[in-house]
């Protein structure tokens, strides 16, 4: 069952059947919202460990500066809201960037809260190509949430 949901998530990740790269990246915001709406499925991506930690649904809106990230440090802005749209404050937010291809070192980043529910920081993309970012959220009450956001086509300057 759990396995099934993971597959569904894998499919959701590539729902647009012919996603040309440029459209894909400029669509990032829409995609983040789309992914957030299947947040519950994304929570399952952590496999067996997901039943140990208590997880909650959250909406994650992640944007990069520049909007199409390049190799190097990218500025990250993240807005965290609950399902009814209220900002989530005082959460610990960590990002983990990975490439789609196995065999690459992940890059990590801890975000700090600027305004209520608005977190920012930098994330380093070490190589050109398709990335995905895992957003790990720990609420003040100890509950956690994880979400995966695709960042395809990181360019080499």
């Amino acid at each position: 069952m759990e396995n099934d949901s993971m597959r569904t998530d894998g499919v959701a990740k590539r729902l647009p059947t012919f996603p040309w790269r440029t459209e894909f990246v400029s669509d990032l915001a829409r995609r983040s919202v789309f992914l957030a709406s299947v947040g519950l499925l994304a929570l399952m991506t952590n496999g067996c460990s997901s039943d140990q930690a208590q997880t909650v649904p959250v909406n994650v809106d992640l944007t990069f500066e520049p909007a199409e990230p390049m190799v190097g440090d990218s500025k990250v802005d993240l807005r965290l809201t609950d399902p009814s749209g209220n900002p989530i404050e005082n959460a610990a937010v960590t990002l983990e960037g990975n490439m789609n291809h196995a065999g690459m070192k992940p890059s990590f980043s801890e975000l700090s809260e600027q305004d209520p529910g608005h977190y920012s920081g930098t994330l380093e993309f070490t190589m050109g190509g398709d990335w995905f970012v895992l957003v790990d959220v720990e609420m003040p009450d100890g509950t956690t949430a994880q979400q995966q956001i695709d960042v395809p086509g990181v360019k080499v300057p």
Binding site: M6, G10, P19, N98, H101, A102, G103, M127
Partner: protein, 512 residues
């Protein structure tokens, strides 16, 4: 190093030392013999060494399959995706370069097959019509295609499914058909390894040809049958149960040449009653200069299936690397715009047809026409292509080495944190906390390695083409060689250009 000379049966009939003896040199391979090494040699001569190696790899495969289906569905965190597409592929080519076809030796697919064969012994012989490389060539191309279409490198679940399918196919084939039908006619990884291993420094070969000449039993090919216990049994000796297989790939040692079709299973070593088979050193790629019939294969330079296999091998190397860089998006987009297609597989199929059929046909046709023109002969073009095609193996191998070596070296240590992470998911971090900062060699270090592999391949290809050009006539060798040298150079330049592009490691883009 003349280790082989110390063998007792050779000492007995060897001429007095110091006397130059061409014939003796011919029959004795005075090379280094791995089977005579103290520890390793003893281990390999132990009959169950292969099974032990296979069991280890099988165990690892089971862990990978488990992680593929029940572990995290993120390629960089999944042992199946990481080990298959980064470590295994890289190790296969590097080990073949440094030693020999040790993957086939430790092949995990053979173990379930052996067990299945005990339950159900195969009854059929592999069909005569399929006794060629075509089934494997088609599967090889299909695996390359599926790899791009389904982005297998970023998909643990499908990677696991592929491994399971592979186990099943090997077991089913060999439960139905006798001898090593799967290895010889079906397995695409096997064919890849066979072609690569023409470039390796080790070869399973006879130590002294004279011993074979006087050998009555030929157990290396027939296998060792149980001792006859009565005269009636002795009469039907061939029907007695086999206690040690002979070569299931139909390679008869005294007439075996090179590594093609050899799985390094060492059955011939265990079977030979005269202890006359060794793992001997030799000059890599030397066998490619040889022209003529050999046991179990016939004459490869007259077999079009070998030509097709080499084409898929050499041009597939470029295609597989090309598919990882961004210009491939441009190519796909262009085809989509021109044709109005909105699904990926026909576009990818077009690129494959272009790279594996049309482009090779044009380039090889052109080179063969020039060679024919310069040699003023009327040999059919296909015969010329069949003869020269093997000169593409070194450069093709160089490109595979560069590409897979790139992934292997840049991702070498990532297996540590991924394994630690997998162990952690069992409840306790019994391998320690994941050390995610571990990566591999920096790209700046790996790049010169890639260039080195490809340059060695280019030189190897030139040497083989020169030897082919000089084999049948000593006239105009340079002119007959030149078109092929130009083709190798073209492949080399394309490969260098590809390796200079950032490896985009695309996943979502083509994977629609």
């Amino acid at each position: 190093m003349t280790v082989a000379l110390t063998s007792s049966n050779i000492k007995a009939d060897a001429p007095s030392p110091g006397a130059p003896d061409g014939a003796r040199q011919q029959r004795l391979r005075t090379s280094f013999d791995v089977l005579r090494l103290p520890l390793l040699g003893r281990f390999l001569r132990w009959r169950y060494s292969r099974m032990l190696l296979q069991s280890c790899v099988l165990l690892l495969s089971l862990v990978m399959i488990g992680h593929a289906f029940w572990g995290p569905q993120l390629a960089p965190k999944n042992l199946a995706a990481l080990l298959t597409w980064v470590h295994f592929r890289g190790l296969v080519v590097i080990v073949i370069l440094l030693a020999g076809n040790l993957f086939c030796m430790a092949c995990p697919f053979m173990l379930p097959r052996e067990i299945a064969r005990r339950i159900h012994a195969p009854r059929w012989d592999w069909p005569q019509k399929l006794r060629n490389k075509w089934p494997a060539i088609i599967l090889f191309a299909m695996v390359l295609f599926a790899y791009e279409l389904f982005d297998l490198f970023s998909d643990p679940w499908w990677t696991g499914a592929l491994i399971v399918a592979y186990f099943a196919l090997a077991a089913i084939t060999d439960v139905l058909f006798r001898r090593a039908s799967f290895c010889k006619y079906v397995c695409p990884v096997g064919q890849f390894n066979f072609v690569c291993s023409t470039m390796s420094p080790l070869e399973v070969a006879v130590r002294d040809r004279d011993v074979c000449g006087n050998c009555a039993t030929k157990d290396c090919i027939r296998g060792v049958h149980q001792e006859a216990t009565s005269s009636k049994d002795a009469f039907t000796k061939g029907a007695l149960p086999l206690v040690q297989r002979g070569c299931e790939l139909d390679l008869f040692q005294p007439r075996k040449r090179g590594n093609l079709d050899c799985t390094f299973c060492l059955d011939c070593v265990y079977a030979c009653p005269h202890d006359n088979v060794g793992i001997l050193t030799r000059l890599p790629a030397e066998e490619l200069a040889y022209e003529g019939t050999r046991s179990g294969i016939g004459t490869p330079e007259r077999r079009f299936d070998f030509t097709a296999l080499t084409i898929v091998f050499a041009f597939g190397a470029l295609l597989n690397a090309f598919a990882m860089i961004s210009p491939v998006y441009a190519a796909e987009r262009w085809i989509a715009d021109v044709t109005g297609l909105r699904t990926e597989w026909p576009i990818l199929a077009a690129i494959f047809a272009l790279a594996l059929v049309i482009e090779p046909a044009l380039l090889l046709g052109a080179a063969a026409s020039l060679t024919r023109f310069f040699s003023r002969s009327d040999t059919p073009l296909l015969s010329i292509i069949n003869r020269y095609i093997r000169s593409l193996i070194p450069i093709g191998f160089g490109v595979w080495l560069a590409h897979y070596g790139f992934h292997f070296f840049t991702g070498l240590l990532t297996v540590i944190p991924v394994a630690q992470n997998a162990a952690k998911s069992t409840g306790t971090a019994w391998l320690g906390q994941p050390q995610w900062q571990l990566g591999g060699l920096p790209e700046t270090v790996v790049y010169p390695l890639e260039l080195g592999f490809m340059s060695l391949g280019l030189i190897g290809s030139w040497m083989i083409a020169w030897s082919i050009a000089s084999q049948r006539s000593s006239n105009r060798i340079a002119l007959r060689f030149a078109p092929w040298a130009a083709l190798h150079l073209l492949l080399y330049v394309s490969a260098v250009w590809i390796m200079n592009q950032p490896m985009d490691m695309r996943g979502t883009f083509l994977g629609g």
